[in-house]
C-alpha cells in the first residue's frame, strides 16, 4: 500500500511537471488555456490523492477548489476575455520554444539537485513532491517572464501557484492549506478581474489601450 501511494503521488506530480512543459510549448492562447485547464485538473487529482493518502478530508476542499475554480471557471472566463479582445490567435514570446524548453529542463534539473540534497530523514514522498513542486513553480515563473501576453502571464502565475498548492498538500498535516488555496484563488480572481477591467491586451504594464508606455513612472 505504502509503495502504491508513493507511486501514484509521484506519477501525478510528474504529470503536473509534464503539463507545465506542454504549457511552455504552446503558442496559441486558446490552446494554452486548455493546457492550463488540464494542469489544474491534474493538480486536483493529485491533491485528492494526497487527501486520501494522508486521511486529511479537508484537503478535498482544496481539490474541489482546484477542479471547479481553476480547471473550469477561470479558463472559461479567460477564453471570453481573449475572444473579446480578439487576441485568441497570436501569442508572442520573448524566447522561442526551443530555448524555453532547454531553460525549463535546466530548471527542473536545478530543482531536483536542490531538493534531493535534502538528506533522507525527510519523508521521501514529501521530498519527491517538493522537487516536482519546485520545478512547477520555476516553470511557471519562467513562463511569466518569457511571455509578453498578459493572459499567458496570468496562466504562468496560476501554474506557479498550482505548484505551491502541490507543495502545500505534499507537506503532511500542514494546517491552513485550504485557507491558503482560497486566498490564492482570491488573488487570481483579482488579477483576472484586473485584466478584464483595464482591458489589458498586450502586457501587464499597459493599463490602458493608449497607455502602453507613457505612464511608467517618470518619463525620461
Amino acid at each position: 500500500m505504502r509503495g502504491l501511494t508513493f507511486d501514484v503521488a509521484h506519477l501525478l506530480a510528474g504529470t503536473l511537471v509534464l503539463v507545465s512543459f506542454l504549457e511552455l510549448y504552446q503558442d496559441r492562447l486558446s490552446a494554452l488555456l486548455n493546457m492550463f485547464a488540464l494542469h489544474a485538473f491534474v493538480l486536483a487529482l493529485s491533491v485528492a490523492w494526497q487527501a486520501y493518502a494522508q486521511h486529511a478530508p479537508h484537503l478535498f476542499v482544496t481539490a474541489a477548489i482546484a477542479l471547479v475554480f481553476k480547471a473550469i471557471i477561470i479558463p472559461v472566463a479567460l477564453h471570453r476575455i481573449i475572444m473579446r479582445l480578439g487576441i485568441h490567435r497570436e501569442i508572442e514570446k520573448v524566447v522561442g520554444v526551443g530555448p524555453a524548453m532547454l531553460l525549463g529542463m535546466g530548471l527542473v534539473a536545478l530543482s531536483m539537485v536542490v531538493m534531493l540534497r535534502v538528506t533522507t530523514e525527510a519523508d521521501p514522498l514529501a521530498r519527491e513532491d517538493l522537487a516536482f513542486a519546485l520545478s512547477v513553480v520555476l516553470l511557471g515563473l519562467l513562463m511569466m517572464v518569457t511571455r509578453r501576453n498578459a493572459v499567458s502571464q496570468v496562466v504562468g502565475f496560476m501554474s506557479l501557484e498550482n505548484g505551491l498548492v502541490l507543495a502545500a498538500t505534499g507537506a503532511k498535516g500542514m494546517p491552513l492549506v485550504v485557507e491558503i488555496s482560497v486566498a490564492f484563488s482570491i488573488l487570481i480572481a483579482l488579477i483576472v478581474i484586473g485584466i478584464f477591467l483595464f482591458r489589458i491586451r498586450e502586457r501587464f504594464d499597459s493599463v490602458d489601450l493608449q497607455a502602453l508606455d507613457r505612464f511608467r513612472g517618470e518619463r525620461r
Binding site: V114, M115, R117, V118, T119, E121, A122, D123, A126, L130, A133, L134, V137, L141, M144, F157, L160, E161, G163, L164, A167, A168, A171, K172, G173, M174, P175, L176, E179, I180, A183, F184, L187, L190, I191, G194, F198, F204, D205, V207, D208, A211, R214, F215, R216, G217, E218
Partner: protein, 479 residues
C-alpha cells in the same frame, strides 16, 4: 472575559474598519479613524507593561513589541496627518466621498493586517496577514484612478503576488523542515516552538527555504533588485499611504525576514544568512544612492531613499553581533519616524505647489518657512547628519563594521556619501533659491511632522537607558 490587549490591537482596527466602511461624511470618519488609531496605540503601550502568554496563533515578545509600538504610533500620527491631508484632497476634488469612506476603511484594515503580521505566532498566519496588507495597499495606491496610479498599483500587485507566492513556498519548506522534529500539525508552524527546536532541523531544507523567504519578503522590503514596485507605489498613492508604506509596511516585511533569520542562525549547519543580507543590503544602498540623482518627482525620490535605508538596515542585521543589531534596530526606528515625517512634509508641499515635480517647486524656505525648514530638517536627518538619531545608528554601523570588515565599511560610506550628495542636490532646488510655483499657505497640522522630528532629535542626543537596555536584549535575541 478579561481585557486582552493582544487581541485588542487586532479587534479595534477590525471593528473600526467595519464602522468606517458604513459611515458617511469625511470629518466624522476622519475623527473616528484618528480615534481608533489612538486607541490601538494605547493598547499597544499597555502591552509594554502586561505581556500575555504566547498562544498558538498570537504572541508578544521582546522583538515584536518594538515593531508593534512603532507601528501603532506611526499609524496614529499618520491618521492625524491624513485627516488634514484628505480634507484638502476632497476640496480639490481628487477624491470623492465614496472613495474617502473606502480609504478610511482600508486604512484600518491595513493597520489590522500589519498588527496581525506582527503579533502572529504562526508562520502561516503571518504570511496571510502580509498578503492582506499587500492587497489593501494595492487598492489604496490605485485610489486616485489616474493612469499613473493604476499603473503603479498594477505593477505593485503583480510583483507583490509573485513575491507572496515565493514567500509561501519558503513557508511550506520551513514546515517540511520542522515536521520530522516537531511532528505534523499546527505546532510545526508556531514561532515559539520552531525557534526552540531550530537547531535540529534539516539544514539543507532551511537553506532553500531561506532563499525563497528572502526573495519573497525581500520584495516587500524593497531590496534591490526586487524593489521595482516601491518607487511608483510611493509616488502615485496618497501621501499618508506613502508614509505608512515607507514607515511601516517595509518594517513588517523586514520583521518577517528577521524572524526567519533567527531560525537559520539557530541552526549551526545551515548556511549563515548574514552574507546574503549583507550583499543585498549593500547592493540596495549603492543602487538607490545612484538612482536618487535622476529623480524629478519628489515622492519617488524619497521612496528611493527608503530603499537606500532598508539596504543599510538589512546590512546591519546581516553583519550581526550585538552592536550591529542594536544599530539596525535603532536605524529602523529612526528611519520610520524620519521618513514618515518627511512624507508628511512632502504631502503638504505637493498640495501647496500643486505638483510633485521637483523642477516646479523652489525657495520653499522663503514662501512657507515652517514647512520648508521642516523638510530641510527631515532631509538633514535622513541624510544621517548629527545631532539627529540616524547619525547615531550610522555611526554604530560604520564603526562596528570597519573594525570587522573594512572594505564593506568603505563601500557603505561611499554609498552614504553619494546618497547624501544627491539628496542635498535636490533639496537645494526645493528649499532654497528663487521661489517657484504657487505660494499658497498650507492649511495643515504640522504637529505629527514635528513630533516625529523631535523624537528623532531627542534620540540623537539622549536615549533613555531603559530603551537602550531593551534594544540590547533584542539585539542579543537576534544573535
Amino acid at each position: 472575559m478579561s481585557f486582552d490587549p493582544m487581541a485588542a490591537i487586532l479587534l479595534i482596527p477590525a471593528a473600526a474598519a467595519g464602522c468606517l466602511a458604513l459611515m458617511p461624511g469625511y470629518r466624522l470618519t476622519a475623527r473616528l479613524n484618528v480615534l481608533a488609531a489612538l486607541a490601538t496605540f494605547l493598547t499597544a503601550l499597555s502591552l509594554l507593561f502586561s505581556r500575555p502568554q504566547p498562544g498558538p496563533y498570537l504572541q508578544v515578545d521582546d522583538l515584536n513589541i518594538v515593531f508593534i509600538v512603532l507601528t501603532t504610533f506611526i499609524g496614529f500620527t499618520t491618521s492625524v496627518f491624513s485627516a488634514s491631508y484628505i480634507g484638502h484632497e476632497l476640496d480639490t476634488g481628487r477624491l470623492t466621498p465614496t472613495f474617502l469612506r473606502f480609504y478610511h476603511a482600508m486604512y484600518q484594515v491595513l493597520m489590522f493586517a500589519m498588527n496581525l503580521a506582527l503579533v502572529a505566532n504562526n508562520i502561516g498566519v503571518m504570511w496571510v496577514a502580509i498578503e492582506l496588507a499587500t492587497l489593501t495597499t494595492v487598492l489604496m495606491v490605485g485610489i486616485y484612478r489616474t493612469h499613473e496610479a493604476l499603473e503603479a498599483a498594477w505593477k505593485y500587485f503583480i510583483l507583490g503576488s509573485v513575491g507572496i507566492a515565493l514567500a509561501l513556498f519558503g513557508t511550506i519548506l520551513i514546515y517540511m523542515a520542522a515536521t520530522p522534529v516537531i511532528g505534523e500539525g499546527t505546532d510545526a508552524m508556531v514561532w515559539t516552538i520552531l525557534t526552540a527546536h531550530a537547531s535540529e532541523f534539516e539544514p539543507a531544507l532551511l537553506n532553500v527555504a531561506f532563499v525563497f523567504l528572502l526573495l519573497g519578503y525581500g520584495t516587500k522590503v524593497g531590496l534591490a533588485p526586487l524593489h521595482a514596485w516601491l518607487p511608483d507605489a510611493h509616488a502615485e498613492g496618497p501621501t499618508p499611504i506613502s508614509a505608512v508604506l515607507s514607515g511601516l509596511l517595509l518594517n513588517v516585511a523586514l520583521y518577517a525576514l528577521l524572524r526567519f533569520k533567527m531560525l537559520l542562525a539557530a541552526n549551526p549547519q545551515a548556511l549563515a544568512p548574514g552574507p546574503l543580507m549583507v550583499t543585498t543590503g549593500l547592493v540596495s544602498l549603492v543602487f538607490a544612492a545612484f538612482m536618487l540623482y535622476r529623480r524629478r518627482d519628489i515622492k519617488r525620490m524619497f521612496a528611493y531613499s527608503s530603499i537606500e535605508h532598508m539596504g543599510i538596515i538589512a546590512f546591519a542585521f546581516g553583519m550581526g553581533g550585538p552592536l550591529a543589531n542594536f544599530a539596525g534596530l535603532l536605524h529602523m526606528t529612526m528611519h520610520s519616524l524620519t521618513k514618515s515625517a518627511i512624507f508628511f512634509a512632502v504631502g503638504h508641499v505637493a498640495q501647496v505647489k500643486g505638483t510633485q515635480r521637483i523642477a516646479d517647486m523652489g525657495g520653499l524656505t522663503e514662501t512657507n518657512p515652517v514647512l520648508g525648514w521642516g523638510l530641510v530638517l527631515g532631509v538633514v536627518a535622513i541624510a544621517g547628519l548629527p545631532p539627529l538619531g540616524i547619525f547615531t545608528s550610522e555611526f554604530l554601523v560604520v564603526t562596528s563594521t570597519f573594525a570587522r570588515a573594512p572594505w564593506l565599511a568603505v563601500i557603505l560610506v561611499f554609498g552614504l556619501l553619494v546618497g547624501l550628495a544627491a539628496l542635498f542636490l535636490r533639496l537645494n532646488t526645493i528649499a532654497f533659491g528663487e521661489p517657484r510655483g504657487p505660494t499658497a499657505k498650507a492649511e495643515a497640522s504640522y504637529v505629527p511632522m514635528f513630533a516625529h522630528l523631535a523624537l528623532v532629535l531627542i534620540a540623537g542626543i539622549y536615549m533613555p537607558p531603559a530603551l537602550v537596555l531593551w534594544f540590547q536584549n533584542v539585539a542579543k535575541l537576534l544573535g
